[in-house]
């Protein structure tokens, strides 16, 4: 479950640390001076009211946005300007708030595409689809089938994802991210727009991923019940500033968090 090249990090050590990161778009400060860390093996929630900078934070972590200030250290390596593909190579996978699946492709192809990075046969073998290329294809198909079994989507593997209901699309997207065998999995509102049953399923999958594959997970979620139940630690953002950081119990009692969510009497 570990991308090659990086140093071995024990469970409980810091996997990713964000130090004093600031990001602005023109005059709008999306994130200002935020620091927090994510430890290996934990489920870390990032919460906050709308527009607090949560998704921007994920985009900074996987290299899609480049912060004006601050440092991000992942697996002991600090990179000021990381490109998205470098983040992916380093072992960061993510899902999106509004499902970003490859709509024209089947479920199987979507998840197989998640393994593109791990497939290496060159174009000449690919053209012949023979020998190493075919062996590689089948070897990865085996791994993809494990994920399909894990997420219980066997019956839809040949269905184009555009035809699936929303809840299943979210599940396929999780599968595609898992296919990358990431060290750090970023989930952007994995339960948005789901009914109770689907939320329970998704929660179970997230816990199972964490437990079974040992994947470190950072998730953004608005459903406080889910966040408090799933996560080991929570960081709270409001207007781009970190206002609290701690275990779910500490967060629940934190006056700054309560003010941010409920408003302050003036």
């Amino acid at each position: 479950m570990r991308a090659p090249g990086g140093p071995e990090i024990a469970v409980g050590d810091v996997l990713l640390s964000v130090e004093n990161v600031s990001l602005s778009f023109g005059g709008v400060k999306a994130i200002s001076g935020v620091s927090f860390d994510i430890r290996k093996g934990e489920i870390r929630a990032i919460i906050g009211p709308n527009g607090a900078g949560k998704t921007s934070m994920l985009n900074v972590i996987n290299g899609f946005y480049h912060p004006q200030q601050g440092r991000i250290t992942f697996k002991g390596k600090t990179r000021p300007h990381m490109q998205p593909y470098e983040a992916a190579r380093g072992g960061i996978a993510r899902t999106f708030q509004n499902v970003a699946l490859f709509r024209g492709m089947t479920v199987l192809d979507n998840i197989m595409a998640g393994r593109s990075l791990k497939m290496h046969t060159n174009i000449f073998w690919q053209l012949l689809r023979f020998g190493p290329a075919l062996r590689e294809e089948v070897a990865h198909r085996v791994r993809v089938e494990e994920i399909i079994d894990f997420l219980r989507i066997q019956d839809i593997r040949r269905t184009p994802v555009g035809r699936l209901p929303y809840g299943l699309q979210k599940r396929v997207e999780l599968g595609r991210a898992l296919a990358m065998e990431p060290d750090l999995l970023l989930l952007d509102e994995p339960m948005a727009g789901m009914n109770l049953e689907e939320k329970e399923d998704m929660s179970r999958f997230i816990l199972d991923v964490n437990d079974h594959y040992g994947t470190t997970i950072a998730l953004i979620e608005h459903d406080m019940g889910v966040v408090m139940d799933l996560s080991d630690r929570v960081v709270v953002l409001d207007y781009g500033i970190k206002i609290a950081d701690g275990t779910p119990d500490e967060i629940k009692r934190d006056p700054a968090v309560i003010d941010a969510y409920l408003g302050v009497a003036h």
Binding site: M105, L117, A133
Partner: protein, 357 residues
């Protein structure tokens, strides 16, 4: 009833990952290929020369463009020019090395088109959609200008056209005015079938999935570690290669000589229409598209003759234009995803026929 997959159990992922997992499909492909070769051995000159050879060549060009536009989602209007690069490259190569097997040069000339295509594909990182189409239009006009203004390309011919010299393989005349339609058809068929097979392998593997990922959601593809520029450039290179070979075949094995106008913007549009009507992102759709756009007018032109209608040739020509145009609109309204989708639906229906429930 015959088209059933009942009882065909797959016991390995190798057989399940096959491009044609259903036995009947595999038999069908074999039957079509055998039939195609038999036609080559028995067919008349008109059928081969005026119908099948150009149909195969245009299908190949449509496959080339489909790799780029259908699979990778990059709209290109430079197909004609990329075909031209292949044709002119082949012409120059065989002038300098007349003793080398002409088929080798046909296959190699594609690489020149591939380099040019990748070069003009560079803007695709920054721009997409219609804007990219306009950027490829620049390729179309620039290359066409080269074909007219650089006399070296056509060996300083006074006519400004390339004339295909006679070339032989094992004593059989393959190109030039004295080559028989049968020989040329068999050569074209072999090359087109081989490239189709390779293209189909490519789009069903890792590279094809990367292309489709970039087409469907480039941001997600990037965050999965797919680098956009190399992926898009590869699509341009492979697509232009196929188009280049198609261009070389067009001149060397069909026209027997060509001016720059063969590779003008109309050619680009014609190939694009084949891809759209046939079905974006489908290899077999490219054949359907070429069949509709190229063969339908031929059939329609013959129709008044069958009924003995006394029409002027010019009137027939105009009528053909109108009918083809109307049919294209009907196809697009009835099935915007092209004939390939209709084919797919038909196969799906056939699988459950006669008990759909």
């Amino acid at each position: 009833m015959l088209y059933r997959e009942v009882g065909q159990f797959k016991t390995s992922y190798t057989s399940d990952q096959a491009i044609f997992p259903i036995l009947q499909d595999r038999l069908g492909i074999v039957a079509i290929v055998i039939a195609a070769y038999l036609i080559g051995l028995t067919g008349g000159d008109f059928l081969l020369n005026a119908v099948l050879i150009p149909f195969l060549i245009f299908s190949l060009a449509a496959i080339g463009l489909n790799l780029l536009t259908g699979y990778t989602g990059l709209l290109s209007l430079g197909t004609g020019a990329f075909m031209g690069v292949g044709a002119y490259a082949c012409y120059k190569l065989t002038t300098y090395f007349p003793n080398v097997n002409i088929l080798l040069w046909v296959v190699v000339s594609g690489f020149f088109a591939s380099i040019v295509g990748a070069l003009f594909g560079l803007p695709s990182l920054r721009i997409k959609g219609f804007y990219l189409a306009v950027a490829t239009l620049a390729a179309q006009f620039f290359l066409e200008w080269c074909f007219i203004r650089i006399p070296w390309l056509f060996n300083y011919n006074e006519s400004g056209a390339i004339e295909v010299p006679q070339r032989e393989i094992f004593g059989i005349i393959v190109t030039g005015p004295r080559a028989s339609a049968q020989t040329r058809y068999l050569v074209v068929l072999t090359i087109v079938a081989a490239l189709t097979w390779l293209a189909s392998n490519l789009v069903h593997g890792r590279i094809g999935r990367m292309w489709m990922a970039v087409r469907d959601m480039d941001i997600a593809a990037e965050l999965m570690g797919i680098r956009l520029l190399p992926t898009k450039l590869l699509a341009f290179a492979v697509s232009s290669y196929v188009c280049g070979v198609a261009g070389a075949l067009l001149v060397f094995l069909w026209y027997g000589g060509a001016e720059s106008t063969v590779f003008d913007i109309n050619q680009s549009f014609q190939i694009l229409f084949m891809v759209i009507i046939g079905g974006l992102g489908s290899i077999i759709g490219s054949y359907f598209g070429a069949a509709v756009i190229y063969m339908m007018p031929i059939v329609l032109r013959a129709v008044p003759g069958w009924f003995g209608l006394p029409l002027q040739p010019a009137t027939v020509e105009h009528l053909t234009f109108m009918v083809v145009g109307a049919l294209i609109i009907v196809f697009l309204i009835a099935e915007p995803h092209g004939l390939a989708r209709l084919w797919q639906i038909a196969k799906q229906k056939l699988r459950v026929w006669p008990f759909p429930y």
